[in-house]
Subunit: 214 residues, 2 copies
């Protein structure tokens, strides 16, 4: 089976899951922690080289305070959880803003944990415009230069993006690295993660052709 | 029904259609002309404000010469066809390159045809990196500045992208204007266009929420 080198995860549907299950919206996020760890372990097992999680965005921080606290806490916990695994970990986003959790500042330079291994990127207080504005006042003039000058330059091209929660959109996820990505949508909400969903995505991906726009 | 202001069309599957119907690959493109005009008329009828067609890309120009000639010709014909309608027409792409058809140079400034009306953008020899490199050596520092400095600055945010031919990817289509777009995939090939496919896309879109990443 042809497997992707780099998978992007959009773990959407936490709030809808909470409401459906009789909780208040902000209660959904903590239920997204275990799915993240499960995906990491599945990727490790099948030999995925790089994995990027969409934590939270600058756009998301306009939500009510209770939700903001809850998703920030969930991201901090997720990163700490991943730092107990064998991974080369990087947290990336606008860390100059007060919205960026201080506890994650030590993770804004890539670092090997355990024996290192799979590259894991975690987007925290990430903004698509923040990212591409890396090009401004650069002298970039080629595709290679674009990849080198965006702020997320340490994240490579994404082969497969899997989005939970049924929405069919990128919502600002890495606009440059995703120009050629294949998108797979899981209808179930992220806290209802199941390994079968992930396996179906991989199976679907293995049947796609890779043209890189050609 | 909530209708999109701006629809992007990725008319894929021309070559697969040709092969399936016993023609050589390059024969598919000319069969994509009528579908384009049909979509234009449907959009006009229901009051869509802006419509963008993915003509051909810099990536596409790496294909065999016969195909290159065929898709370039189809784009020239399509633009000329649209210029007989009531539309405010713009052809956009890297027109400094020899790959850009000279016949379309007069269309690289937006111009009203007939009584004007719906904005129609046609991407010709378009490259995603060419587009975002508009940011390089600018002093852009905000989201608004990003929209103003990319080369496709005259094209607004896309609400709905409809792709024919079953692939679930953007293939470099307007990375900045599509960060919040909803994607709808039609399994049929573009030359097998049918108004029902378009109507299903609109119906699906009307049930999506608009969050702009919030």
């Amino acid at each position: 089976m042809r497997i992707p080198k780099h998978i992007g995860i959009i773990p959407d549907g936490n709030r809808r899951w909470a409401e459906k299950n009789g909780y208040s919206k902000e209660m959904g996020y903590s239920n997204g922690l275990n799915p993240g760890l499960e995906i990491f372990k599945l990727c490790e097992k099948i030999g995925i080289k790089e994995l990027t999680f969409y934590g939270f965005t600058v756009d998301n921080t306009k939500r009510p305070a209770l939700q903001k606290i809850a998703f920030t806490e969930a991201c901090v916990k997720a990163v700490k959880m991943l730092s107990k695994e064998n991974a080369s970990l990087l947290v990336i986003g606008n860390s100059d803003s007060p919205m960026f959790p201080k506890e994650l500042l030590p993770f804004t330079k890539r670092k090997d944990f355990g024996t290192g291994g799979i590259k894991v990127n975690f987007l925290v207080n990430y903004g698509w415009e923040w990212d591409v504005l890396g090009l401004s006042s650069s002298d970039a003039h080629s595709r290679k230069n674009v990849y080198e000058n965006i702020k997320s330059r340490d994240i490579s091209r994404v082969d497969l993006i899997i989005r939970w929660g049924g929405r069919r959109r990128l919502s600002g996820f890495l606009p440059i690295q995703s120009v050629y990505s294949d998108f797979y949508i899981v209808e179930e909400m992220w806290p209802d993660f199941d390994a079968n969903q992930f396996n179906s995505a991989l199976e679907w991906y293995s049947k796609q052709d890779v043209t890189l726009g050609g």
